[in-house]
């Protein structure tokens, strides 16, 4: 590895600043969205407007996406030395990742294309599409296209392929150790750089889009009892007690006394 590469401001911006901004935005933004506007967190499903195409496109897209994500986790977070220790050669890994990755990508792309055709082609669905949805779709498509183009160019038609597990993967992990090594990204092919940069932009916007529904994955459904009982006592889902004549959040120097029952205060 040539560590004597000179790094410009752009390198620090793209491979240190942007990733941290993206992660903070993703995490803090999601927490804020769930806390401040829980009513706003929804899949915003348009199934009631159109069901047939959704029934094909949505499962394909989501399942393909899950496989692609799993592939990224393996490729980016598991060091090459670990897989080598298991006797997996770089060639074998490369072949496996390429075949499975492209398979997953095809499923996801077919799903997304169906969903986009549906969204643009169906009047009712198109009308329920917000500006943020459109921005999200464009970025999502760019991420996908860049990722697939990078893979095709370097991995499939690029001879022996590009070993991103010696550059991109350690760079990403270095961010998690808070010892960023932007120099690792210097020699990475431009196609990968574009893919990574647009993904970071997607992460920044993530909490502002309908993609937050991914963070609401209801895993607890598999283990919780079927029926849910709640007492009105706890006021779950209700607003905090605030009589109409009580202090508001705009009142100055007044505690919202409505939260305290008068007799407990007086006696």
């Amino acid at each position: 590895m040539n560590t004597a590469v000179s790094l410009g401001a752009t390198d620090y911006l793209l491979w240190v600043a942007l990733p941290y901004v993206a992660f903070v935005s993703l995490i803090v933004g999601t927490i804020l969205r769930f806390r401040k506007n829980p009513y706003g967190v929804s899949t915003r499903s348009s199934i009631s407007l159109e069901k047939k195409l959704l029934g094909i496109g949505a499962p394909l897209f989501h399942i393909g996406l899950a496989c692609v994500l799993a592939g990224h986790v393996v490729g980016l977070l598991i060091p090459e030395s670990w897989t080598s220790a298991f006797g997996i050669t770089e060639e074998a890994y490369h072949l496996g990742a390429m075949v499975m990755g492209m398979g997953a990508a095809v499923i996801m792309v077919v799903g997304l294309v169906i969903l986009v055709i549906r969204r643009v082609g169906n009047v009712a669905v198109w009308q329920s599409t917000t500006t943020m949805d459109k921005v999200m779709y464009v970025i999502l498509l760019v991420v996908l296209a860049a990722g697939i183009f990078a893979t095709l160019k370097t991995q499939v038609f690029g001879g022996s392929g590009y070993n991103y597990r010696e550059t991109i993967s350690p760079w990403l992990r270095s961010l998690f150790y808070f010892q960023p090594q932007p120099e690792l990204m210097a020699t990475v092919p431009t196609t990968f750089k574009v893919h990574i940069t647009v993904v970071m932009v997607l992460f920044v916007l993530w909490p502002l889009t309908r993609l937050v529904h991914a963070m609401a994955l209801p895993l607890s459904y598999l283990v919780r009892p079927y029926e849910v009982y709640r007492s009105a006592d706890r006021g779950v889902g209700a607003r905090a007690v605030r009589p109409g004549w009580g202090a508001t959040r705009f009142s100055r120097n007044v505690k919202p006394e409505g939260l305290v029952t008068p007799h407990t205060k007086d006696q």
Binding site: S45, I47, I56, V123, A216, Y221, S231, A238, P243, W245
Partner: protein, 498 residues
Amino acid sequence: MRVKAQMTMVMNLDKCIGCHTCSVTCKQVWTNREGVEYAWFNNVETRPGVGYPRGYEDQNKWKGGWNLTASGGLQLAAGGRLTKAAKIFGSPDTPEIADYYEPWTYEYDKLLSSPLGQLTPVARPTSLITGEDTKITWGAAWDDNLGGSASTMANDPILKSMSTHVRAEFESAFMFYLPRICEHCLNPACVASCPSGAMYKREEDGIVLVDQDRCRGWRLCVAGCPYKKIYFNHASGKAEKCTLCFPRIEAGQPTVCSETCTGRLRYLGLVFYDADRVSQAAAVKKTDLYQAQRDLFLDPNDPEVVAAARRDGIPQDWIDAAQKSPVWRLISEYEVALPLHPEFRTVPMVWYIPPLSPMVDVVAQSGSDGEDGKTLFAAISQMRIPLEYLAGLFTAGDTRPVEKSLRRLAAMRSGMREVALGNEMPAEIPAAVGMTDTQLVAMHRLLGIAKQAERYVIPPSHAESAQGRDYECPVPDGMMPGRATAGPVPVTVGRKPE
């Protein structure tokens, strides 16, 4: 035994004139908003008919409610947890708006803004979904009063399960209205379907609600409910449903649909039930479901039940209300009210008194005395087709409870006619239906002339145990702000005491 209280409704179908006032007032209060234009938390269906949404009772198609497993347990009809979770992306069992109807408005403005001309201006229909011109081909009550039923009635899921021969005869003889709201089931399939755990049954009064802040729009509840009474708001991406007007119920007031019912056919009251036996009662064999559900209900006058209710934290005024509950009397004392589709195994808690009037009409049309007890009894047992249809709606196919209910209504009719004419009630009339004459008179009062206070026995919720209500009285000790002496305070809900 674990005693729980359930706010329960009974509707007397004999008195429903199909005016849709309940639907309209409910809509004005609850679904007069963007995203739920197509939703009617309360709707009135003409039966026989396909219902709203079309053919919702056909669970082979919609996969709502519960199925009995081979081992005798209950499983959601759409599949187990993993199957249900696997349906989260495509949700194939969810209806589209087209299955309800495409809501529309008219270009009313054209009527006013059109220039003077030869032709009368026309307000064309516009889709509320796309905003474009639309052709109205279906509505929320399209086959109202059997209008157009010649082409649609064959799709009635209950008629489908009966023979063709039966069908033809039925069409000319029998029609009634079925108002429907959420059943607020004891074993709700919607709650069990909700991946987020946003749907819940209230411990105090059993009202089933959607926590709008927790709903994530997975829309599996819509598919899970066999009555299709959960609606997906396509604008907010949240599930919405009938709330049994809980803010009114908590204040001791009847629901909007009950309050505005012109036929005064709705009854509201508490039913105590044994929460420990619910899943057991939902898992008996199909024809035993009605009886099993009724056996779940506990007699509020039984000292043991009262003691258990106190032990389980039910306040005294709620016990009093349960003892005065018109719903308990109609379901368990007179046995005239029946559940809607117990075979869905959700243990529904809106019950119906089957309609006798259509049968009386048939008897009267044939030239006989439609109010005569013997003639009516004979007619009820002879009219197998209406009986079978009603049994398909209310008792999973068992005609005996339906016949019993109708015979009791017939006895009340003919017995009370004698009383109205100044005669004694003939002893054989109540005896023929296993009731006393006092019971018949009391039932007549409840079904015929009961005022609001008797029809709606709704104990207000307990503010001292419910800290979450934002409209609770702020002066719980009878203390007025700025007043030193204690005393009763007139409370107006939601307003500052003067």
